[in-house]
């Protein structure tokens, strides 16, 4: 008997919930359809079968995910999964053989379980690391590297501090406590951001790495979107996230004084200006931080994919090379700019493609 009554109660609850969902509330509409890629690289990708997996940086995640979703529409035999676990965790998984390629914003270090010579860097896109603030009433904010360093290491605790107001003449800044939001996980975004401060601000003391010893009053968020979430939720907060997330969420982005002495806000053009003045090294890395150009946004970060120099499994190797070739060319042209990422200049692409040609797919 009790069972029957229990079942009756459950049935009523469930049907009530489903009924409630059926009428009244309309389902969220899908936004614009995903763009369909086209071109010779896309045609190649359609021919290649395989199931490959990558993990790593969350900085370019929005671009990679949109590209993967786009590719899925046309290349039915090729299944690609990218998991945004953070640069450090991505390199570790790659080194342990858990993924076929990795995404990283920072270079492979001594702590990573990846032997030199077994992998290649492939630069994919670049983007500004936006300094985002939540200050009701303030839409324009200019920050010097020194003020930025002071804020993030806790020397400057309130928004009306002279170090901030000095570069914002005529702007009324509130007497409000600054809440610092930073990454909790090992992050290439953190590494590029702190390396920039280390280079550009004399007063920065925390060094530059995937994680640094943040002051205890700072708040940690998971991945770029977690930091963005803290900034959205907290009045008086400041944080650093990729430009794509910041723009999509409509966050207020600060203009940062670059090496030429101009205050530049993050944008795709300012990102490209920073890349244009940086040199590609032998191993296909480059350093657009604190770039010299007058229009360059100073906190511009590269992002790379790590691919193996040789793949034991021919199917996997061919799938990775085909996918990455497509990603840096037609995918970058189709998706990157809309999502806030800057496609790389031609000389970078040429180098990336020739590096991909050298990957041994079927050793023996």
């Amino acid at each position: 008997m009790r069972l029957v009554r229990f079942l009756a109660v459950v049935t009523v609850m469930v049907s009530g919930a489903l009924l409630g969902s059926g009428c009244g509330n309309s389902r969220a509409k899908a936004s614009d359809p995903i763009a369909v890629p086209s071109g010779p690289m896309t045609e190649l990708a359609k021919q290649v079968p395989g199931r490959i997996k990558g993990a790593g940086a969350s900085f370019p995640d929005a671009f990679y995910q949109e590209a993967v979703a786009g590719l899925r529409q046309v290349a039915t035999k090729l299944s690609v999964t990218y998991e945004a676990v953070g640069s450090a965790a991505g390199r570790e998984a790659f080194g342990q053989g858990l993924s076929d390629f990795a995404g990283t914003d920072s270079l492979v270090g001594e702590d990573d379980p990846i032997a030199a010579g077994t992998f290649r860097y492939i630069p994919t896109v670049a983007a500004s690391i936006a300094v985002v603030v939540n200050l009701p009433g303030v839409t324009d904010l200019r920050l010097t590297p020194e003020a930025l360093a002071g804020i993030f290491q806790g020397d400057i605790g309130r928004w009306n501090d002279p170090a901030i107001t000095a570069s914002n003449p005529g702007q009324e800044l509130p007497d409000r406590e600054i809440v610092v939001a930073r990454r909790a996980d090992g992050s290439g975004t953190t590494k590029n951001f702190t390396r920039y401060l280390d280079r550009a601000a004399d007063n920065w003391r925390l060094g530059g790495d995937d994680t640094v010893e943040w002051p205890s009053h700072t708040q940690g968020g998971q991945q770029n979107s977690g930091v963005a979430q803290i900034v959205i939720d907290t009045a008086g907060a400041i944080g650093y996230v990729d430009y794509g997330n910041a723009a999509q969420l409509g966050l207020t982005m600060a203009a940062i004084r670059n090496r030429a002495g101009r205050f530049v806000a993050p944008s795709i053009a300012a990102t490209q200006a920073a890349i244009d003045s940086s040199e590609l090294t032998e191993e296909l890395t480059y350093d657009p931080l604190d770039a010299p150009g007058a229009d360059a946004y100073p906190i511009t970060a590269p992002t790379y994919l790590l691919v193996r120099s040789s793949y034991d499994d021919a199917t996997t190797g061919r799938a990775v090379v085909t996918f990455v070739r497509w990603l840096v060319t037609e995918a970058a042209d189709t998706y990157a700019a809309d999502l806030g990422f800057a496609p790389l200049p031609e000389r970078f692409r040429t180098a990336a493609l020739s590096a991909l040609d050298q990957i041994q797919i079927d050793p023996r």
Partner: protein, 302 residues
């Protein structure tokens, strides 16, 4: 308010209200205590009702057939359905974990209560099971990551099942043993006196008598496993497409998807997280009902 039976000289039961005899001070104390208890219950019920209500309200908006079957959108920023891979993943990973943990746990508990009793081995097992109950789930995840995932170089659904089975096992053992202990010894003695052997007594007398309780314990373990996030994130990886295979390729579960999506600042992702939470609650619900029906058929106590 309260009524008790009081025997009288005449041998008749006469109902006497306790309140009639109470002094005003004691009556006030009585009312105050009752009110305090009702209030405590109400306070305790508030978060429960709010959680379920909020999840049903928010999640109910998005859950429909398309939500339960379609692939997960790659980009968090996109709105619209898709939790199919997570529904499939939750079902097969939890089912495989239950298939490993529940029989093993019940058999272990039978050994502890019917055979081992207080000998040294049984006491050790009991102690270890208690310790294991308190081990944080992420530790199980790391354990499986090291001994299984790193060895086979792939994050799979089965690795998730192993981690969940490790979590479920001590719960199943301890709850089952408690239930077996509640079965009166007279039943065992009667069965033995009728000539049944110990295994037959256990199988046909003790187990059916304890079945409803064992089922509850097992369901508790299943519910806990289905809602586990940390070990799943660690050992099963992620997939956006439905993967029916336990042994090949990454997988994902509803709990992992709730974690991934709820922390995103995008509304589409947050709605998907609510939808996944709603689905998970319904799934555990359905599972409990089925288990109740099955146990009611075989039980001897109801």
């Amino acid at each position: 308010m309260t009524v008790v039976d009081m025997p009288t000289d005449a041998g008749h039961d006469v109902e006497v209200s306790l309140e009639a005899n109470l002094s005003p001070a004691r009556r006030i104390a009585d009312h105050a205590a009752t009110a305090a208890m009702v209030l405590s219950f109400a306070v305790a019920a508030v978060p429960l009702v709010m959680i379920i209500g909020y999840v049903f309200l928010k999640g109910g908006q998005v859950v429909d057939m398309a939500f339960l079957t379609e692939a997960i959108p790659n980009s968090y920023r996109r709105v619209g359905p898709g939790m199919g891979p997570a529904v499939v993943g939750t079902v097969i990973i939890t089912a495989a974990a239950s298939a490993m943990a529940i029989p093993l746990g019940v058999l272990g508990a039978i050994y502890l209560n019917e055979y081992g009793k207080q000998n040294r081995l049984a006491r050790t097992i009991r102690f270890m099971a208690d310790v294991m109950t308190g081990v944080p789930s992420v530790v199980m995840g790391v354990f499986v990551y090291v001994v299984w995932v790193l060895r086979f170089r792939e994050q799979t659904g089965f690795a998730g099942s192993l981690a969940l089975a490790c979590l479920m096992l001590p719960i199943v053992i301890r709850t089952t043993e408690e239930m077996l202990r509640l079965v009166p010894d007279e039943l065992r003695l009667a069965s033995l006196a009728l000539g049944a052997r110990r295994w037959r007594t256990t199988l046909t007398v003790v187990l059916p008598a304890a079945l409803p309780g064992i089922t509850s314990g097992a369901m508790l373990a299943v519910a806990r496993a289905a809602g586990e996030t940390a070990p799943i994130l660690l050992v099963t990886g992620l997939t956006f497409d439905t993967n029916w295979s336990l042994f090949e390729g990454n997988n994902t579960t509803l709990a992992a998807q709730i974690f991934r999506n709820a922390s995103q600042p995008y509304e589409g992702a947050q709605l998907r997280a609510y939808g996944a939470a709603f689905t998970l609650i319904l799934l555990v619900f359905a599972c409990t009902i089925v288990a109740r029906i099955i146990s009611a058929r075989f039980s001897t106590t109801r």
